[in-house]
């Protein structure tokens, strides 16, 4: 692709619509980044009052075209519409039960690490972790000193996608079309090779362990979003192999 190639051409958009579509693309990238950011926050640590308050201020679409997304929003809405005696404690307890558990048999929680779900013995720090670490480094991302969990934690993988979507929006705005397309390719490969590979199993396990509509809804939303992401990135790069 030459340096003068407009990204919207590569992204399979008619020339007459390129200018408007360019703005729409930036908006799409920012929406994607927001969603990745929200999901990363939900799965990173227990919910706090600020998160709950922010989510109570959200609008929950009812017909997005993906049944898991719709169900996820509905469950989140149901939970957030209900007054629990101590929502923060309720969610902290459910986070602990769902994602940490108290067993040592590798089957006592919905472990939020890709390695656990893609290695034969359900162990941490396996091949998946090495792979995502290499991808982060290839994209000039390094580990924050405060992060003490493995790099293939779902929150980190989602945060990686958040960063990449923001970079894509910035590149489009700055007219760096090749860079934007390359970043979209990276994102498509990451969704295909990683998120779409283990999120369905992870979400299935969330449904086994979670007792609140909050984390069950977040799980459904995550599953649906990863599905939609696969389709969106394929559509955007439709002219690519």
């Amino acid at each position: 692709m030459s340096e003068t190639t407009a990204p919207v051409e590569v992204l399979d958009v008619p020339a007459t619509e390129q200018e408007a579509t360019g703005k729409e693309l930036v908006a799409v990238m920012r929406d994607r980044a927001r969603t990745y950011g929200m999901l990363a926050r939900i799965f990173r640590v227990e919910a706090d009052d600020d998160l709950v308050a922010q989510m109570r201020g959200m609008k929950f679409p009812t017909a997005t075209g993906n049944e898991h997304v719709d169900k996820g929003y509905r469950l989140l809405f149901n939970y957030l519409s209900t007054v629990w005696e101590d929502t923060r404690l309720d969610l902290a307890r459910d986070y602990m039960r769902t994602f940490i558990g108290h067993g040592v048999n590798g089957h006592s929680a919905a472990y939020p690490f890709e390695s656990v779900h893609t290695s034969e013995k359900r162990l941490l720090m396996q091949e998946a972790r090495d792979e995502v670490l290499a991808i982060y480094r290839a994209n000039n991302l390094k580990k924050d000193e405060s992060w003490r969990d493995c790099e293939d934690h779902i929150a980190v993988e989602l945060e990686f996608m958040q960063v990449m979507a923001k970079r894509t929006a910035d590149a489009l705005l700055a007219g760096r079309e090749d860079e934007a397309v390359e970043e979209l390719r990276t994102q498509r490969a990451f969704v295909r090779d990683h998120l779409a590979n283990w999120v369905p199993i992870f979400v299935h396990d969330i449904m086994q362990w979670s007792e609140t509509d909050f984390y069950r809804g977040a799980g459904e939303l995550l599953l649906g979003f990863v599905q939609v992401e696969g389709e969106t990135l394929d559509d955007l790069l439709a002219n690519e192999a």
């Binding site: 927001r34 679409p61 009812t62 007054v83 969106t232």
Partner: protein
């Protein structure tokens, strides 16, 4: 080369500000990550889902971890509830009161009022919601979370839901829960305890204890003075606390207003035992 970081703000408190920065990304009230997707997703992606890897649901039951009093661990919800009450004698009164109250549906805050009244003299680290959840897990209560279907439509014609005024869950007693409460009212547990092989030698002690606490509230010290020197409790050695525990666990004694009181159930048991004794004397 400059590097960005990932995994920000995970554990360290001083990184908390960075989390908030991230959250600003979805502060927008109009947040709708999929609204910009103009194409409806096709169904092919659904077929791509992995379905042939081992799932947790395929694990043997022995790998599952459930709450101790989860009804799934017992033959029936009644058994789970009986064990819950047996295992938590100090919370028995309030648990029974919640089930009893929820014969008519009660919201969480209404249950909280019931709990506050019952636990006025017997405070607990358990919140009303925790107690309800325990009963729900055992199968004695069900929770109805209000379904909201007040869907609105934005300027683009897309439907959405928005949290207006959060509403409370409503708790309702199950038939199993009410059945056990009804059993408890009959006093079978007191009779079984006092009539058991290990406790029947102390029948008179139990009756004296109930009689003593029926007059007015009694402290543990006063109960000790009544019982501890009795020849019956010297060998094997028993103390007043042993008998208080037994009567509390079966609902015949309750701690209230800084003293142990005989409950209505305990009074009925006492009266029945006296009637029986009188009949025996007449028969002799």
């Amino acid at each position: 080369m400059a590097h960005e970081t990932y995994g920000e703000a995970a554990q360290a408190a001083d990184r908390y500000g960075a989390v908030q920065d991230d959250l600003e990304l979805f502060e927008d009230d109009e947040f709708d990550p999929f609204a910009a997707d103009v194409d409806q997703p096709d169904d092919e992606a659904e077929d791509d889902q992995i379905t042939d890897l081992p799932m947790m649901s395929e694990l043997p039951e022995s790998h599952r971890v459930r709450g101790r009093y989860d009804k799934a661990n017992y033959a029936s919800a009644q058994d789970a509830l009986r064990e819950l009450l047996r295992g938590n004698p100090a919370r028995r009164q309030v648990l029974v009161a919640i089930i009893d109250a929820c014969n008519d549906p009660h919201t969480t805050s209404e249950v909280a009022q019931v709990v506050e009244g019952v636990q006025r003299d017997n405070l607990s680290v358990y919140t009303p919601l925790s107690l309800c959840r325990m009963l729900e897990t055992a199968g004695a209560l069900t929770a109805q979370v209000p379904e909201s279907s007040e869907e609105e439509v934005d300027e683009d014609g897309d439907g959405y839901l928005e949290v207006k005024e959060p509403r409370e869950a409503t708790w309702t007693a199950t038939d199993a829960g009410l059945e056990v409460v009804s059993e408890l009212r009959e006093g079978n547990e007191v009779r079984e305890l006092v009539g058991s092989a290990s406790e029947s030698p102390y029948r008179d002690i139990y009756l004296r204890l109930l009689d003593f606490c029926a007059e007015q509230g009694r402290s543990a010290k006063e109960v000790g003075a009544l019982i501890d020197d009795d020849p019956l409790v010297q060998n094997p050695r028993r103390y007043g606390a042993h008998f208080i525990d037994g009567m509390e666990a079966t609902g015949a004694l309750v701690w209230r207003d800084k003293g142990w009181h005989t409950t209505e159930l305990g009074r009925r048991f006492l009266a029945a035992e006296r009637d029986e004794a009188a009949v025996a004397v007449v028969a002799e």
